[in-house]
């Protein structure tokens, strides 16, 4: 009892130093999951997915690009960011090339240099779907034909642009939130705001933490859980999945990995590790430094456990069934007639899935992609099967080659 009281007092003072408003993370509904990636099993593609569609993206001189680094969907289009060509490419849902936006389209007389950009954000309203590109001091809005419709100055101090809005359109989630109290500023990883008013503040942090310590990112920390008004949140060097709802943040899943895959308990608090974390993971390449890409699809929790060691054989992308406890390794899915005997990801053979995981989950579909180099090598190693490909793929294999554009794979996961 005394111990509890003491720690409570310490907590209280520690918290008091930073901000009196820190909200306690609710862990009452927490579910503990024990996951051993090595024990993950395989399955036939048709056991996991209801539908598999290969969508080769048209290759023309104008549309040629490297790989898909960021994928978003509109009603009728795929919108892609490619880091190699520093361009946004727009394809129809059947893979037909529509338009491209690269820095030459931003280049105006008042801009001295060509402005490269490193991503895009899709702005959807009820009537319109626009691509917003941040470059230099401005935002540029493009329509899906690749035409510039608007440009305006970015308000550097206003981070509202990064906020996630909930359906009520009043509540928003502010990552890396700054609260000002007179001259003092305090910083939090997550704030829940209701019309700019701070409803709850979580995880205080030091402003210059990236300068004083090493952080290994493993993707976007906030992802859409695809439950209504619910987001998932993941922290650095932490195996917990948090759930953000309009009023609170709570601990949804606590994942326990086998000891030889887990970082030491004091990894975040022990100063010995400070600024030496990369060295630590270099020496312990099988330890998981973070998780990413969580999606809850029916009873299936999809996630990726990331390790520093570069090993295409390791089972990093997993599906954990919350009902049965079954663990499936995505790279070990076995191609069958549903996928025309082609692998549904390039996991285990090439690097796209290993690096990115699934691009997104939207409207009941998961999306991944792989290169034509991978596509043709898979086709070559199954040449003895005499597979009849669907017309789209038959045409692709006839007219394209291993240097053509990547192929998008659209998968409809089963929910049970």
């Amino acid at each position: 009892m005394l111990k509890h009281t003491l720690s409570f007092i310490i907590l209280f003072f520690a918290a008091g130093n930073i901000s009196a408003q820190i909200t306690k993370v609710d862990s009452s509904e927490m579910v503990t999951l024990r996951i051993d990636p090595e024990s993950a099993r395989g399955a036939k593609v048709s056991e996991i997915f209801e539908e598999v569609k290969f969508i080769p993206l048209e290759t023309t001189k104008e549309s040629l690009f490297g790989s898909i680094d960021h994928l978003e969907l509109t009603k009728n289009c795929f919108v892609i960011y490619d880091h190699d060509t520093k361009a946004v490419l727009i394809f129809n849902k059947n893979g037909k090339f529509k338009a491209k936006v690269n820095s030459s389209k931003l280049n105006e007389s008042d801009e001295k240099d060509k402005q490269a950009f490193y991503g895009f954000k899709l702005i959807k309203t009820n009537e319109t779907e626009l691509i917003r590109i941040a470059s230099g001091k401005k935002y540029y809005l493009f329509d899906l034909e690749g035409k510039l419709t608007k440009k305006y100055l970015r308000e550097m101090k206003d981070s509202k642009e990064n906020h996630f809005k909930f359906a009520d359109s009043i509540t928003s989630i502010a990552p890396f939130h700054v609260s000002r109290d007179g001259k003092d500023s305090t910083f939090h990883e997550i704030a829940i705001l209701n019309n700019k008013k701070e409803v709850a503040l979580y995880f205080p942090l030091e402003f210059d933490r990236f300068k004083t310590d090493q952080y290994i990112g493993s993707g976007n920390p906030i992802t859409d859980s695809h439950l209504k008004n619910e987001l998932f949140y993941i922290r650095y060097y932490d195996y917990n999945i948090y759930r953000i709802k309009p009023k609170s943040l709570s601990l949804a899943y606590r994942i326990i990995f086998p000891a030889n895959n887990s970082v030491p308990k004091d990894f975040l608090t022990n100063p010995d590790y400070k600024n030496k974390r990369i060295e630590y993971f270099q020496k312990n390449p099988t330890q998981i430094y973070g998780i990413s890409n969580p999606y809850l699809i029916g009873y299936n929790l999809y996630l990726k456990a990331n390790t520093w060691g570069w090993n295409l054989d390791s089972k990093t992308a997993l599906i954990h069934n919350l009902q049965t406890g079954a663990l499936t390794s995505i790279k070990n899915l076995e191609a069958d007639s549903l996928s025309q005997f082609l692998p549904v990801t390039d996991g285990g053979s090439f690097t796209d899935f290993y690096n990115h995981g699934f691009h997104l989950y939207e409207d009941e579909y998961l999306y991944t992609s792989y290169s034509s180099l991978a596509m043709f090598s898979f086709k070559d190693s199954s040449v003895t099967r005499n597979i009849k490909y669907d017309p789209l793929l038959s045409k692709y294999f006839e007219t394209q080659n291993k240097k053509s554009n990547p192929v998008i794979i659209q998968l409809k996961p089963k929910k049970n």
């Binding site: 099993r41 490297g66 790989s67 390794s329 199954s382």
Partner: protein, 944 residues
């Protein structure tokens, strides 16, 4: 010539008959087998497992492969109606064995799904057989135990057995078409890093496995990496010794003996070598001796043999010790701490006799013919001691090295020369007798510290520094006495005779300070991009001090005593300072498309200014000169590389550089020694520095496909020199030459080099083709008797090599060398041309694992526009027999220059002259050699 062709034809026919027989012995089998591997515990098909097929009767390995992306395997060329065993292995699974027979009516069997069980950790499986090849993460492993070879086989024999590996005629190793950049033993370079020392000595039975892995530089492009081969020794075998002791004696008192003994432990490597011969085998350093004393297993190889082209008869004794200590037992690319040290002593004794005739044009009509008979005896002792310490820690690198050399000896020489005019009349003779001894020592120390950017701290603005300090001290002592007699047959008054003694001492001290600050942009401009241009500052400072002390005495004919020659006796001190600051601007443009290509274009422009100060202090006042030179010396290059995934890597480079050469005191104001009237050197105080400018374009192509690769390199270099320091020669009708130096423009050259290499691998044999070619074209200005003339020279040299190996039995190499020269003096209307060519066929045939016959024949032909053709053929053959249990002993019977035709031809052209002649060379001898190869890997078992 016809005889030779007949002989070659005979040899080829003998060598070809046997392989066809061997092929009949191993027919192509019609059977095929396929199946799928499945891990039912985890419910997936198993890829990257090793599937091997053995003949059940004698458990010999027939074939193996790795299961594909779908867990499938498919074998062809298997025998039907025979009991076979299939073995499946994977690092995480229990080995699966299955007996099967391919039915002879169908010639095919489908084994369907084979279930393979994960390894039970508590149950330690006893592995009876190991798979030949496994994938362990990203490492491809070839397990030595799976390949059944002769008990005396070495690693090289194993490499030849592995279908994925090509061992090239020149020692290069490729795995699936990709070049191995380094071969390590237990993660460390082995005895200096020469591949052969490891692959031809380490017993196959001491080897656990061969690991092949990428050292990945760029994770986004797994194909952009260098391939490393590591030979992992069995536990307990990481300590041992190997070597060779050999002695041979032959006709004409020819002898040849050598010793090489090497010991190694996990941290230490020690090599002791020694050799002595009088058969023109070069013994220049420890590595030559180590690489030529390797055990070799049962393979075919061309041998280390006498150099029949070396001039004279050389007798050499040599010995040395090499020591390496790794402070870190398992070093890697970012942590290494090594000390290496070698000591080498060599004693050489040579006898060279040569006869030459040189034809020189002195004007459009007149030529002078000079005949020269030369006899030279030379004896010397060289000692060399090196030590190097290297410490590498992530982004820091410290290297300290030193070298001490001592070279002493004596020589005697006799030269008889005479000159004739165009009518063939003897005009003069000039004979020299010389005797001397020398003692040179040299000490060299170099320290380099390199600090590069810490990639864990990319924000740090200071990106690194590179500092070098070098010190060199040379001390040379030369004592010589020359007796020279010049006789004129047209004018007796110009006869001269000298008996002169020289005592020359030179001390040199050189210090070098280089400092470089790379990637300065971030320090001066922070995060500004500056259009992607980065720059570096480099300063090179060099101090050189040289002291000459020459004592010269002449014999006074009257008193018969030597008296000091006050003109040639002199003390001279030269100080030279070179200071070169410079800035290097770089810009790199990368363009890549994932899984398609990666292209890189980089520009480098390095303007620098050099300041040279030269100061001479001499007892002779006319030598008290000081000179300063300064010049802008820009260098630049553009490099373009294009890497197409899975296809090829191409590189193009265009570079430009400038250099200056300043005249030294012997060119400006020498003390003129008039003993050699056929060549008197005079100086010129008005000499300016020569400026060389060179531009070169090169390209190379590396094939990245897996089979039958084609690789080539091409380069084209052109240069021109302003104010070149050239000879202005005055020749009188007695062939007395006085050479003045002067500056002249117009030196130009253009050189081409190309080589191309292709390998074609068949089932049991391999064909390798390589062609290299070189063309040099230059134009040199000069003056002869005040007439300005360009001498235009064109030299070419081409080499074609074809290597064919069939299994372990046979190796044939055919090579053709073709060289031409052409020298033209338009002003004198003269032209000299000549051709040298050599055709070689060498072969090696193993009658059994113990008996080998080797033979090589070279047909040489030398033609010249102004002399008779010279043709000769050298044929060497030897028979080797290995005996004792471990094949440790070898007896070799060698017959060299069987046809007794070796003559060393001198045939070359120069500025307005050409020279032809012969010199004494090694000729026919027969020798019997006995060798013993002590070998032990791992500790000796204790006898009870």
């Amino acid at each position: 010539m016809f005889k030779i062709l007949k002989l070659i034809a005979l040899l080829v026919s003998i060598l070809i008959v046997k392989p066809t027989l061997a092929q009949q012995a191993k027919p192509v089998f019609p059977g095929s087998a396929k199946g799928v591997l499945r891990d039912t515990a985890h419910n997936y098909t198993l890829k990257s497992a090793t599937v091997s097929v053995y003949k059940l009767a004698d458990s010999s390995l027939l074939s193996y492969q790795i299961s594909n992306n779908y867990g499938e395997f498919s074998f062809k060329n298997l025998p039907v109606g025979t009991s076979l065993q299939l073995e499946v292995s994977h690092v995480s699974y229990q080995t699966l064995r299955k007996k099967f027979t391919i039915p002879s009516d169908k010639n095919a069997i489908d084994l369907h799904t084979l279930i393979i069980n994960p390894k039970d950790i508590t149950l330690n499986e006893v592995t009876v057989t190991v798979p030949p090849i496994t994938m362990n993460g990203d490492t491809l492993e070839f397990n030595a135990a799976a390949f059944k070879l002769d008990s005396n086989a070495v690693v090289e024999d194993l490499l030849r057995k592995i279908p994925n590996i090509t061992l090239w005629g020149d020692g290069l190793i490729t795995v699936n078409g990709r070049e191995i950049k380094s071969v390590l033993v237990n993660g460390k370079p082995f005895f200096g890093g020469d591949t052969k020392v490891a692959t031809q000595n380490i017993a196959k039975n001491a080897l656990e496995k061969i690991q092949v892995y990428n050292t990945i530089k760029d994770k986004t492009n797994p194909l952009d990496s260098t391939l490393t081969m590591n030979l992992k020794l069995k536990k307990g075998k990481e300590i041992g010794y190997f070597g060779k002791i050999s002695a041979g004696y032959g006709t004409d008192n020819r002898f040849d003996g050598d010793l090489s003994f090497n010991m190694f432990s996990p941290k230490m490597q020690l090599a002791i070598v020694g050799a002595s011969n009088n058969v023109n085998k070069s013994l220049n350093n420890i590595n030559t001796l180590m690489t030529n004393s390797t055990f070799k297993g049962i393979g075919t190889n061309s041998d280390y043999q006498s150099d029949f082209r070396a001039s004279g008869i050389n007798r050499a004794n040599a010995g040395g010790v090499s020591f390496t200590y790794n402070f870190i037992e398992k070093p890697n690319w970012e942590l290494r701490n090594t000390l290496t040290s070698t000591y080498f002593i060599q004693d050489r004794n040579s006898d060279v006799v040569s006869n030459t005739q040189t034809t020189t044009s002195i004007n459009t009509n007149d030529k002078i013919y000079e005949q020269s008979n030369n006899r030279n005896r030379f004896e010397s002792t060289n000692q060399n001691f090196d030590a190097k310490y290297e410490l590498i820690k992530r982004n820091k690198n410290l290297t300290l090295s030193q070298n001490f050399q001592k070279n002493s000896g004596e020589n005697t020489g006799e030269t008889l020369r005479n000159a004739r005019n165009a009518e063939g009349m003897l005009t003069s003779t000039n004979n020299t007798l010389s005797q001397g001894n020398f003692d040179n020592t040299s000490f060299n120390f170099l320290a380099n510290y390199h600090l590069s950017q810490d990639w864990l701290k990319p924000r740090r603005k200071f990106k690194g520094i590179n500092i070098t300090y070098g010190l060199r001290v040379d001390d040379s002592q030369n004592e010589n006495s020359n007796l020279t007699e010049f006789k004129s047959f047209t004018n007796a008054a110009s006869d001269q005779r000298f008996d002169r003694r020289y005592d020359k001492n030179i001390n040199t001290l050189n210090q070098q300070f280089d400092v470089e600050f790379p990637n300065l942009r971030s320090i001066f401009f922070g995060d500004k991009r500056l259009g992607g241009i980065d720059f570096a500052f480099k300063n090179q400072l060099n101090f050189n001090n040289r002291k000459d002390d020459n004592q010269v005495e002449d014999l006074n004919g009257n008193t018969n005593t030597y008296q000091r020659n006050t003109y040639l006796t002199n003390k001279l001190e030269t100080n030279r300072i070179d200071e070169t600051p410079g800035i290097t601007f770089t810009k790199t443009i990368n363009k890549s498309l994932s899984n398609r290509y990666s292209k890189n274009l980089s520009f480098n422009f390095a303007p620098k200014q050099t300041f040279i100060f030269q100061d001479n202090k001499s007892q002779k006042s006319f030598q008290n000169l000081n000179r300063t030179y300064t010049r802008f010396l820009p260098d630049a290059f553009v490099n373009y590389s294009n890497y197409q995934f899975g296809e090829h890597l191409k590189n193009y480079r265009l570079s430009y550089n400038t250099k200056i050469r300043i005249p030294n005191i012997d060119q400006l104001a020498p003390l003129i020694d008039s003993t050699n009237l056929y060549s008197i050197q005079r100086g010129n105080l008005n000499l300016r520095e020569a400026v060389d400018r060179e531009i070169s374009l090169s390209t190379n192509h590396y094939d990245q496909t897996n089979k039958n690769t084609l690789n080539y390199n091409l380069s084209l270099t052109a240069g021109f020199t302003n104010d070149n320091i050239v000879d202005s020669t005055f020749i009188d009708d007695l062939n007395r030459r006085t050479i003045f130096l002067t500056n002249a423009n117009g030196r130009k050259y253009i050189n081409f080099y190309g080589d191309i290499r292709k390998a074609i691998k068949f089932k049991a044999s391999e064909l390798q083709l390589s062609l290299s070619s070189q063309i040099n074209n230059d134009q040199n200005p000069g003056f002869t008797n005040n007439a300005f003339a360009f001498s235009k020279n064109l030299n070419t040299n081409s080499d074609l090599k074809v290597n064919y190996t069939y299994k372990d039995y046979l190796a044939i190499a055919v090579s053709q060398n073709y060289g031409t020269y052409q020298s033209k003096q338009e002003a004198f209307n003269t032209e000299y041309t000549g051709v040298n060519m050599a055709s070689t066929i060498s072969s090696s045939y193993n009658f059994s694992k113990r008996l080998t016959l080797r033979s090589n024949i070279t047909y040489n032909r030398s033609t010249s526009s102004n002399a008779n053709d010279i043709n000769f053929t050298i044929w060497n053959a030897n028979l080797l027999y290995r005996f004792l249990k471990g094949n440790n002993a070898e007896i070799k019977l060698a017959a060299l220059d069987i046809l007794h035709q070796n003559t060393s031809v001198i045939n070359y052209g120069g500025n307005n002259s050409f020279t032809i002649g012969t010199r004494n060379v090694l000729q026919q001898y027969f020798m019997a050699t006995l060798s013993y190869y002590p070998k032990q890997f791992g500790k000796k078992p204790v006898k009870k």
